[in-house]
Every structure is written in C-alpha cells, then in structure tokens.
Amino acid sequence: MKYRIVRLSKASGKKASFYTIFDVLAQNTFFERFIQENLTLHEGEIHEIINRLKVISEDEGARTYNFKFDQGKPGDGVCYLKYREKGQSLRLYCIWYGADLIILGGGGAKAEDLKAFQESPKLKQENYLLRKISELVTEKLRSGDLELNHEFEGNFNLYEEDETES
C-alpha cells in the first residue's frame, strides 16, 4: 500500500482545505475515483457534492453538522458528507480534522434497503480503507513526521509498516 496525501487546489478555499489520498500504484486519487465511479448514474448528486464542498471551503468552513460522524472507530474522525435531507444515495467518506481541514476519501452508493454500510462490499471496502488511512495519519502526527496547523506540513507519504519509501 503506497499512498500520499495531496491537497485538492480547486476544491480548497479561504475557509477550509480539502485533501485527498493519491494512490501511487493506481496513479489516481480516492476523491477522483469516487467521482468517476458515480458520475454517470448519480450526476445530479455529484454536482450537489461539488457545490457543498465549495461552500464549505469558501464560505462556512467544515462544520460538524455538515457531516455524519461515527462511521469509523471511536475518535478517528471518519465521517461522510451530508448533502441532502432525503434521497441521499451517495456516501463520500471523509476524515474530519477541524473546521479548516478535511481529507476526502472514496465511497459509493448505499441502497435504501441496506441497514448498515457493511452490507455493501464497496462501502465496507472504502470505509475500512479510510479507517486505515486515519490510523496512518494519526501515527505520523504523533511521531511528528506530519504536523497539522490549518494545513498539513511534513512528510506526506503513507506506507504500511513493512514497506519502505522508494
């Protein structure tokens, strides 16, 4: 697993910065992959998500009420973005680090008849992957390899323990 934290320059603004995870092997980012996978069948919802991200980054900041928390392990910040009161079928998983910094992950559609996201293999995969990312970032923050001060600074590479940086 070889990833890198990158900042989404188009999504970010004066009130908040959005980051995502660049998959070095796939040469793609989690957020871009989420958009590509869901744009055809959920175009309207994708545009609503884009609008909401811009309002967050330019006007209001990332308020906790804009997200549904407790989607990961306790305290790991894994959540998903709310963009509709009813009829929201997409879950874009994120890691919330404060009103001015969010990591956008992947996600997918949640069928109405599913009671828990774990019943969807896609959502389970994306959710658990982001939990892992959250763990790696937390480890780097603790070790000082990465610092958080309104923006991330430091070493942005995320590797599993048994892998070395090349």
Binding site: R7, N51, R52, D59
Partner: protein, 159 residues
C-alpha cells in the same frame, strides 16, 4: 550522511504539500451551476447562522430543541445545511432566538419609495369630471377644480 540517515532526514524535512489538480476535476469545479451553487450557499448560510446564535447563547442542541418544542434529531436536520425550512418555522426560530432570518428590509424600502412617488393621473379631455374617493364615498368634481386644489395637486398627464 549515509543513505539511512538521508532517508530519516528526508522524512523529517518539513515539506509543503503537493497541490493536486487534474483536467477532470478542474472541469467539474469550473463549471458549477451558479444558480444551484447560490441555493446551496444560502441553505448552508442559514443553518450556520442558527448554529452560531445557539453557540453565542450557550445553547446545545437539546436546549434549542426544548425551546422550539422539537426533538433534538429535528435540530440536527435543521443544522445540516440541507433542510428546506417552512416560513412558519423560520418565523418561530426568529422569535425563539431573537434574530432576523427573513430580511425584508429591501422590500420595505421599495414600498416606502413607491408610496412616496407622486401619483400619475391621466385626464382625458372628453371626461372632465373626476370621481374622488374619500373613505368609502365618491365625490364628483370637475377636473378644473381638482387641478386648482393645492392639497390635491398631483402630477398630471394629459391624454
């Protein structure tokens, strides 16, 4: 320094993050529908204003819910920035929080301006008699008398 020390040094170097962009994402963010964006912005701004006032009052969700006679889950929906408020609800929130959410000042000013404008009366030459309404009654007067009466002077257009 050997390779291992260089690797440790590189890890500790404070590097600025890579600003990622792609034509695909650029196209999405550059072609936002402005009307839809404005709608989203206002919905989120409304929720944010309510949340800010709650915080200023030291109210948690449960306090606001009690004051509004609603369940806390309803307040969560209101604050999400996704809720389409009814007029009645907005008026009630204004009352409970002591804030203005419905800004009618522009319309009121327009109304004042409209009222202050002089009334245009068109007098047809073949209809010299005017009927003036006073309360619930009408009085017939000649157009000449009307024009000469200072208190009733208006801008007159002749057709």
């Amino acid at each position: 320094m050997n390779l291992k020390e260089i690797s440790i040094y590189m890890k500790k170097m404070k590097l600025k993050v890579e600003n990622y962009t792609s034509p695909f994402l650029d196209n999405l963010f550059d072609n936002i529908d402005l009307a839809e964006y404005e709608k989203t912005r206002k919905m989120m701004a409304l929720a944010a204003k309510i949340a800010d006032v709650m915080e200023a009052k030291g109210w948690k969700k449960i306090d606001f819910a009690k004051a509004m006679n609603k369940k806390p889950s309803v307040i969560t929906r209101w604050l999400s920035g996704c809720h389409n408020f009814s007029f009645d609800t907005l008026v009630e929130i204004e009352r409970v929080l002591g804030i203005r959410l419905l800004d009618l000042s522009t319309e009121t000013q327009k109304e004042k301006t409209a009222a202050a404008k002089e009334i245009m009366i068109v007098i047809h030459a073949d209809a010299p008699v005017l009927e003036l309404r006073s309360g619930s009654t009408f009085t017939s007067v000649s157009s000449g008398d009307f024009l000469n009466h200072k208190s009733e002077r208006r801008n007159i257009a002749y057709a």
